[in-house]
């Protein structure tokens, strides 16, 4: 966003790209856990992009004769109750899960930032109105609200995304509101106005980008929650439609097989889910450091 305010030809693009990379490398080196999480993220992105092409079995192909087989050389993660290969399903599910979490977070990020930024900047009635609205959303136990929305709209992937986005909006809106509010009277805001920026420009190009670092932490947390949320919805039967592979629904359905000894059904998707949430959570701090210019030298 701040890019538009950049005067043309300030620094050579290659040079600044190199600098950014060097900065990212530094942040990663400084914190090994973050580095690990970025590595895992790359892995997930790889699975999402190439997984469907690489997996050994068709994730939808049933084989009643080979149902509920424990992990073996031919089925690394075993097979499920209709004989589908769990490994293939887990890998193929990556794409959908990433789509769900990223779009849900993107949606709440955009809507929340927009509402929060305007309320934080304008103050007064806009602010009061937004705050009451957010309070109202927050007054619902969030998961139950998501359930209600999915139940009302039907359990399609899109609706799961909407529901997840709606319950996350308050977090973004609140965060942005505070961040914008403390910068509303800041010197650089006033300076931007003096430089001839309209209020909209000041808000969009000067104040808002400064709220990004704390937002990044929220984003990473929410990416994880979004997947967990989908899993929870699956557990009560409101998840994505079968036979689409999705971690949440696989864990939710597999959970019922734990006691009967078919642990692999829930364990592997659960492990992947956990790794993904884990990755997102740990990435947050790294992302914040990367988007924070103060960390640059």
């Amino acid at each position: 966003m701040s890019e538009t305010a950049l005067p043309p030809g300030s620094a050579s693009p290659a040079g600044s790209l190199w600098k950014s990379l060097a900065h990212i490398a530094y942040v990663l080196r400084e914190n090994p856990l973050t580095a690990v999480s970025f590595g895992m993220f790359a892995f997930f992105i790889g699975s999402a992009l190439f997984g469907p092409a690489l997996v050994p079995y068709d994730p939808l192909e049933t084989n009643a004769a080979a149902a509920l087989q424990p992990p073996s050389f031919s089925h690394w993660f075993g097979t499920d109750n209709v004989g589908r290969d769990v490994f293939s399903r887990v890998i193929v599910a990556t794409r959908l899960d990433l789509i769900i979490s990223v779009s849900a977070v993107a949606l709440s990020f955009v809507v929340g930032s927009f509402a929060g930024a305007i309320a934080g900047y304008r103050g007064g009635w806009t602010d009061i109105l937004l705050n009451r609205l957010l309070d109202t959303i927050m007054a619902f136990p969030l998961f139950v609200l998501a359930m209600g929305i999915v139940a009302a709209l039907g359990n399609s992937v899109a609706n799961i995304i909407y529901a997840t986005a709606i319950i996350n909006i308050p977090f973004y809106a609140r965060l942005v509101r505070t961040e914008v509010n403390i910068r509303r009277e800041a010197g650089f805001t006033q300076a931007a106005k003096l430089a001839g920026n309209s209020d909209t420009r000041v808000l969009a190009f000067h104040i808002f980008p400064n709220a990004l670092p704390p937002m990044m932490v929220q984003v990473s947390l929410n990416l994880g929650w979004a997947v967990l949320n989908a899993a929870g919805l699956s557990f009560i039967g409101l998840g994505v439609r079968p036979p689409t592979p999705e971690w949440g629904i696989m864990v939710a359905e597999g959970a019922n097989f734990i006691i009967s000894g078919e642990w692999w059904l829930a364990l592997f998707p659960g492990l992947w889910l956990m790794l993904a949430v884990f990755t997102f959570n740990l990435m947050g701090d790294g992302l914040r450091d990367i988007v924070d210019p103060r960390r640059r030298t």
């Binding site: 192909e61 009643a64 036979p243 009967s260």
Partner: protein
């Protein structure tokens, strides 16, 4: 202690009064265990040694004896003279009349069920004296007596109930909802909705042999995994209605009863409102494309009874019966090629979230198999609350899974509900003039009538030829028992605790 048994179930009991609007299926067991009916079905021993109700035998419960007039229009009951309610008062014909009046008047399901036996209006019931009760029928029907043995026409202590009734609530539904007033073998000692129901034996019970167990605690545990852990570890004695998979696996560790449910079939419904399914070749192609055996193995884990691959001529009137269809993709392809849709079509395949445990694997297998024919399906999971509306009331699901079980175990009764146009369980919008006529003729006809069997066989033929509902298998009701005995299967699929005994002998 063997004078207390603990049972778990996944369902929640939401009322102690079956007649109330909104009472769910799981609550019917209160009507069975806490109330008596005039009569009940007999008991038989199945080939596997377990006990089951016997539709062919009617036995007294509150009634000592009964007689049917020659024209079949009047049934006269003599009540047991020593039968008492829990409060010690005598069970009179007046109570029976009040209870029957209630069942036909409250509307909703109880009234519908009563209607099946030809019991429609209060003026059909007369209490002649304390111990004589007479039912006047509009026309003779073989269903009338059996319909008195289903859970609905239970006898309430009308003195207690009337004392609690009011102008807005003449049938005391408020009161009986939480406080049963009956003469049954067990009283409700405690009811924590959503948690547990504690039964306590009524020692003055006269309608049958006094139960052995004094106290039975019924706990509600929603998670099937938890239920399985509990029964396996022996912390509970009875786990009612367990999933087929658990039944298959647990049978080595604990006693598991799996009884195919009478008059119940899991079917694939092909809706005639959906144009391609009006084509007989398409319907048959679908029927041949279904991998029956795999479904029976993966969805039912082999529990229940297969209902496909009949090769012989239709001889008897047993129902459910096997269909002539088998999994034969070649034939399916041929049939589809011969139809108006040789290249297939797209159709949603609808299942219910509440019944996902069998519907989902079944749907997956069907989806895959139909895909090979060129029929593209998308599985649509419909939330439980919406399911009934969509499948039965609006009948708008083109391709769906469905299961209907008739309480009254006759084929005509099944056909009445499932194959007649407009009737609730005919989710396929199927209409066949001949079946309409045949059902009307046979529904009330005695089963030993010489005309009965040929007509029924004709109905079977048409249903199998038209195949609007493709039978998959007859499901089983699975009950795991650990440290108890005496379980008996009932058509109403409820736990009858009256026959349970303590530790296995």
């Amino acid at each position: 202690a063997s004078d207390t048994l603990v049972a778990v179930t996944g369902q929640t009991i939401n009322s102690l009064d079956l007649h109330r609007t909104g009472t769910n299926r799981a609550s019917y067991q209160v009507a069975i265990n806490c109330y008596d009916r005039l009569i009940t079905f007999g008991t038989k021993t199945l080939p596997d040694g377990s006990l089951s109700f016997d539709y062919s035998k009617l036995e007294p419960e509150l009634a000592e004896s009964w007689s049917v007039s020659d024209d079949g229009l009047t049934i006269t009951f003599k009540l047991k003279p020593n039968a008492i309610f829990w409060d010690g008062s005598k069970v009179t014909a007046e109570d029976v009349k009040w209870s029957f009046d209630r069942a036909v008047s409250v509307g909703g399901f109880p009234s519908t069920q009563m209607k099946a036996g030809g019991l429609v209006r209060p003026d059909q019931f007369t209490a002649v004296d304390d111990e004589t009760f007479v039912i006047a029928l509009d026309r003779p029907s073989k269903l009338s007596l059996p319909d008195l043995a289903v859970p609905v026409p239970f006898i309430i202590n009308s003195k207690v109930a009337k004392a609690q009734a009011s102008a807005e609530d003449p049938w005391a539904t408020e009161y009986l909802h939480t406080t049963p007033a009956g003469s049954g073998a067990y009283k409700v000692a405690r009811w924590d909705p959503g948690q547990q129901l504690v039964y306590e034996r009524f020692d003055g019970w006269t309608s049958g042999p006094l139960p052995k167990v004094r106290r039975i605690i019924l706990r509600e545990v929603p998670s099937p995994a938890t239920r399985r852990a509990l029964i396996e570890r022996g912390d509970v004695h009875v786990s009612f209605d367990i999933p087929d998979k658990d039944a298959a696996e647990l049978s080595e560790k604990v006693k598991v009863h799996s009884t195919p449910i009478a008059n119940t079939i899991h079917v694939v419904g092909l809706n005639y409102d959906f144009e391609p399914f009006q084509d007989a070749n398409v319907r048959k192609a679908v029927a041949y494309a279904i991998p029956y055996k795999e479904i029976f193995e993966t969805a039912a884990y082999g529990r229940g009874a297969p209902l496909w691959g009949e090769t012989e001529e239709i001889a008897g009137t047993e129902w459910p019966r096997k269909s002539p269809y088998v999994h034969d993709m070649e034939k399916a392809k041929e049939l589809l090629a011969a139809s108006a849709y040789p290249d297939g079509f797209e159709v949603p395949l609808s299942i219910s979230t509440d019944l996902a445990s069998w519907m989902e694997p079944t749907a997956l297998l069907i989806q895959e198999s139909l895909g090979k024919l060129g029929i593209k399906t998308e599985i649509e999971k419909i939330p439980g609350a919406n399911w009934r509306t969509a499948v039965l009331v609006e009948k708008r699901l083109p391709l769906h899974l469905e299961n209907f079980g008739g309480w009254l175990d006759t084929p005509d009764y099944y056909f009445f509900w499932a194959y007649l146009e407009g009737n609730l369980f005919n989710s396929s919008n199927y209409r066949n003039e001949e079946i309409e006529a045949l059902t009307a003729e046979t529904l009330h006809m005695a089963q030993d009538d010489p005309e009965y069997a040929p007509k029924i066989r004709r109905m079977f033929e048409i249903a199998m030829e038209d195949i609007p509902r493709i039978p998959l298998y007859q499901p089983a009701l699975n009950v795991a028992i650990n440290g108890a005995d005496g379980y008996e299967f009932w058509f109403h699929r409820q736990l009858d605790i009256r026959t349970l005994t303590g530790a296995e002998s």
